[in-house]
Amino acid sequence: MSVFPQRQSRFDRWRYLVLFILIGTIFSFYILRLFDIQILRGSNFVNQANENRTRIISDPAIRGTIYDRNGVVLAQNVPSYNVVVIPGYLPADEGNTQQIFRELSELIDIPVSSGDTDEEAARNFTPCYNELGISEIVYIATTNWPFQATPLKCNVDQDVAMVVMENREEWPGIDVEITAVRQYPTGELTSEIIGFLGPIPAALEEYYVNLGFVANRDKVGYAGVEQTLNDTLAGINGTRTVEVNVAGEIIRNLAEPIEPTPGSDVYLTIDTRLQAIAREALISEMEYWNTTAGRTITNNGVVIAMSPKTGEVLALVSYPNFENNRMERIIPGYYYEQLSNDPQRPLFNHAISAEHPPGSVFKMASALGVLNEGVVTPEYEVEDPGTITVIQRFYENDPGKPQQFVCWDRNGHGMVNFKWGVAYSCNIYWHKVAGGFEDEIPDGGLGIWRMSEYAKAIGYGTVTGIELPGESDGLIPDPTWKRINLGENWATGDTYTAAIGQGYVLATPLQVLNSISTIANGGKLMDVTLIDRVLSKDGTILQQLEPSYRWDITQDPVINVYNGNNPSGETKTVEPWVIELANQAMRLVVTDGTASEYTIPRHAELFRNDSSQSAGKTGTAEYCDNVAQAQGKCEFGAWPSHAWYVGYAPWDDAEIAVVAFFYNGSEGATLSAPVVRRVIDAYFELKSIDAAQSP
């Protein structure tokens, strides 16, 4: 071994020492760092690791079905088939994958490849709404969520879905996802009642997410009972806490899964047949008058039918409305814009949200007051010369300005008592008894304070509580309101106009109906409702309509007693005979009054048939809103007017009450009354058909 020269080595010890110190320092630091990470901050990292592997999956609950009172489906879920890909399960062999893509491409009519994907396309990827080819979608899905189902094509035909399902074995990674889509079989006919669904709005996202909803997946009601009964219909999403790997593949359940609770089914009080008749009556009447006139007189109207005894709404038509089936998947932007920009406001529920002067229908509120307060006896006759002049006084010793008030019939009705005051809808009668007139009606008549008490007692000025979003409360003015809002004192003339439902008085069609319905029902102000019953998915009745009322004005003292302008603190009821007389007067409207005659032959049959023994009250409410003002129609004595009519039958034991309203429909008697009478007749026809079928 001596061939190698021995070379003695001795490096500086201190240089080794420096190195050892370096080694020791670094490893000591590392061990300290490990101690910090693993022991001191360990639990923090354990939490992060658990967060990594734990995923909470929300299983959507099935939304409840909406039926009408007879079980006709108004809103239901229908399956929608999406062809999806789970890239993690595609065959490993690229050739096989391409083969699947080619076959699938032919079936679902999407190209295998649509060219290159850039980052932009990947970032903006929206499932169902993109123009990408299969390869591109799979590429995006593979990089982002390889074990989640990504839709290749949404809403395919059931036949296509069946083919895909049959080919599951040959096409690993390709599957069909079945999602529920909301469908409205009755569409436009009931859309103002049912509403529609939309995505969870950003502003309410936190609220809904806390309730277990999933943003961008679950939908919530945007209008109608879909909105108001959302909690009942939506059910509760199920949750599964699962362990996933880095690719998102589910390994196992970490906790007992909570099954979704399906939403409850809702039966409405609506009778779809009556709804259809009411809508048809409204539209055909509109078309008739518009066609006859050769111009658009009215293209906006309401019909509501309810049961006075129970408060159930049987039909509720707001025209024009919208086609809610067009919103079943998404709310199409162009359609929504079109609806929003329509001057007739189709998305607005005119039946419950529109506030109009109620016109002569409001005289019934005055009527109750006049008799109950003893301003006049029913027999007391007031002179209607056609035109009267009163001195407008804004304060006690105001010398005043003279102002003319005219009856709708300029010839006057001569000497008029209570019943004929209603039957002829004699304005002068109501002006005088409500606001006082010289010596004929001394002491200022009923006066605005007491009038408003009776109006409120039959439901004016407050919402009815119907289960629809956006109900308005109308307006019953009083001197305090006028001083605050208009900065002016109450004048005698204000009482005159308020008494006939003009001036500042505003009401929704539903309030107008409900007020007359209360009188027809002997003074009980019913709680208006749309919901007959709510059933859980297993058939248990969760809620059953029990008719309830807010108050009975003949029993509950809801009328505040006034001393001049001040409430005395005492309250009283309305005498039953007052209501009885009001009903008789409204019967007289139909038999001999404003609604007793038809003006055009088309309505002859309707008016001849009095089998239903109906009563009613017409209303021709002059208005001057922004639209009329812009058209220069607001001329004194010739203002445009809305047409109102509320009818009920039989007059002495009412089981149906109907209101019809035509915006700018001029005569209540000529436009609205025929529609109401058609709906009332149809109601009794349907009743007899139902009775024949179920003895």
């Binding site: 071994m1 001596s2 190698f4 021995q6 070379r7 003695q8 080595s9 490096f11 500086d12 010890r13 240089r15 080794y16 190195l19 050892f20 080694i23 670094i26 490893f27 630091f29 590392y30 061990i31 760092r33 490990l34 101690f35 990470i37 693993q38 022991i39 901050r41 360990g42 923090n44 990292f45 354990v46 992060q48 690791a49 658990n50 990594n52 592997r53 362990e243 996933v244 790997n245 880095v246 690719a247 390994i251």
Partner: protein
């Protein structure tokens, strides 16, 4: 003169045992790292095969007097340069290539380069020992290293470049470089860094720049960005606690949240499944390997042998601190593996070859009594 029987009495079993134990722990951890990834299934078996081959190499190399290598240094140097040149030109054709496929075994020329540089520098400094370490010697050694490193740098393989330059610096240190030269070198490095900053580090690849900038300025919102791997590594280590979650029980590893877990981040697997105690034991074994190499260096019978032991010891030290440093997020991601433990056949082979040479030095060391006391 010692006969070979006496020589085996000087065989350092502490060094050998620690290296072997680390390799076995490594195979166990590689097995845990499979975590259902089909591509990794055969890795434990491959690593085992490589370990057996490497052990054979180790014993053969130990048996041979290390001085025989002197004659091989020049040819090995040239072959390595040829390999690197081939890889460098192949890169132009196929993109980044660091592997040469020889039969079914992949040879990484960079691993070969580490051995060659250690041997070449050890030989060079042994021959220039008599002269004071003057500037000329430093320059000559720089040329020796540079002839190899330039091709690795141009690949570009920054991490191996740094390893080789650090080995050169370590060699200069131990052979007695003057402190003022060190100060001058530090000044030069500073100038280079400043120039680099001024030119926007044009010589760094984008991914290298990203790694460095992500290390110094991590984006707190980047859940799946460049910081993902180190973040997951930190979480993985953190779940270990005192004694770990148990072998093949770490959710971070088994559900594959931890990436490149069989090579770069195998230390995180160890820390998660065997905890603080397990990590300290493995660090202890690595420190034992390093210290045994240094002790053998101090007791070597000649300068060449001393520098071989020193060089390999330092190589293992440097790779260890860089790899663990990356795992515990105190150093930017570099791609250096954990010696003996990480998966990698040619890496294990070259490390065991190095241990074999160090054993060869130990066996021919005159002062065995001192060596036997760890």
């Amino acid at each position: 003169m010692q006969n070979s029987r006496n020589a085996w009495q000087n065989f350092d079993f502490w060094l050998f045992g620690a290296a072997l134990l680390l390799s076995i722990i490594g195979i166990a951890l590689i097995r845990s790292s499979i975590a259902g990834n089909i591509e990794l299934v055969d890795h434990p078996q491959r690593q085992t095969t490589f370990l057996i081959i490497s052990l054979g190499v180790l014993f053969v190399v130990s048996a041979v007097h290390y001085n025989y290598w002197i004659t091989l240094i020049q040819p090995m140097y040239l072959v390595t340069v040829a390999f690197l040149l081939f890889v460098f030109t192949a890169e132009a054709r196929f993109g980044a290539v660091r592997w040469l496929e020889v039969g079914t075994i992949l040879v990484q020329p960079a691993e070969l380069a580490k051995i060659v540089v250690i041997l070449a520098l050890a030989n060079f400094f042994a021959n220039h020992e008599k002269k004071a370490l003057d500037l000329k010697t430093i320059f000559q050694s720089a040329l020796l290293v540079g002839g190899l490193v330039i091709w690795i740098f141009l690949q570009p393989n920054l991490s191996t470049t740094i390893v080789l330059l650090v080995i050169w610096a370590a060699m200069l240190w131990i052979t007695g470089i003057r402190i003022r030269f060190i100060l001058i070198a530090i000044a030069i490095v500073l100038v280079v860094v400043l120039i680099g900053a001024a030119t926007g580090f044009a010589f760094l690849q984008d991914y290298q720049l990203d790694r460095i900038s992500n290390f110094f300025f991590p984006d707190p919102n980047a859940r799946y960005g460049e910081t993902y791997n180190v973040d997951q590594a930190l979480i993985t280590i953190g779940t270990g606690g005192w004694f770990g979650q148990g072998y093949t029980q770490s959710t971070q590893v088994q559900l594959r949240f931890l990436k490149v877990r069989h090579t770069d981040f195998i230390f995180s697997v160890l820390a998660a499944e065997f905890g603080f105690v397990g990590s300290v034991v493995v660090i202890g074994l690595l420190v034992l390997v390093i210290f045994r190499c240094m002790k053998i260096s101090q007791n070597a019978s000649d300068t060449f042998g001393s520098l071989i032991a020193y060089g390999f010891g330092f190589l293992i030290f440097f790779q260890t601190i860089v790899n663990i440093g990356v795992n515990i997020n105190v150093i930017p991601v570099t791609g250096l593996t954990l010696p003996f433990v990480s998966y990698g056949g040619s890496s294990l082979l070259s490390l065991m070859l190095g241990i074999g040479m160090v054993e060869s030095v130990a066996m021919r060391s005159p002062n065995r009594k001192q060596i036997k006391q760890p």
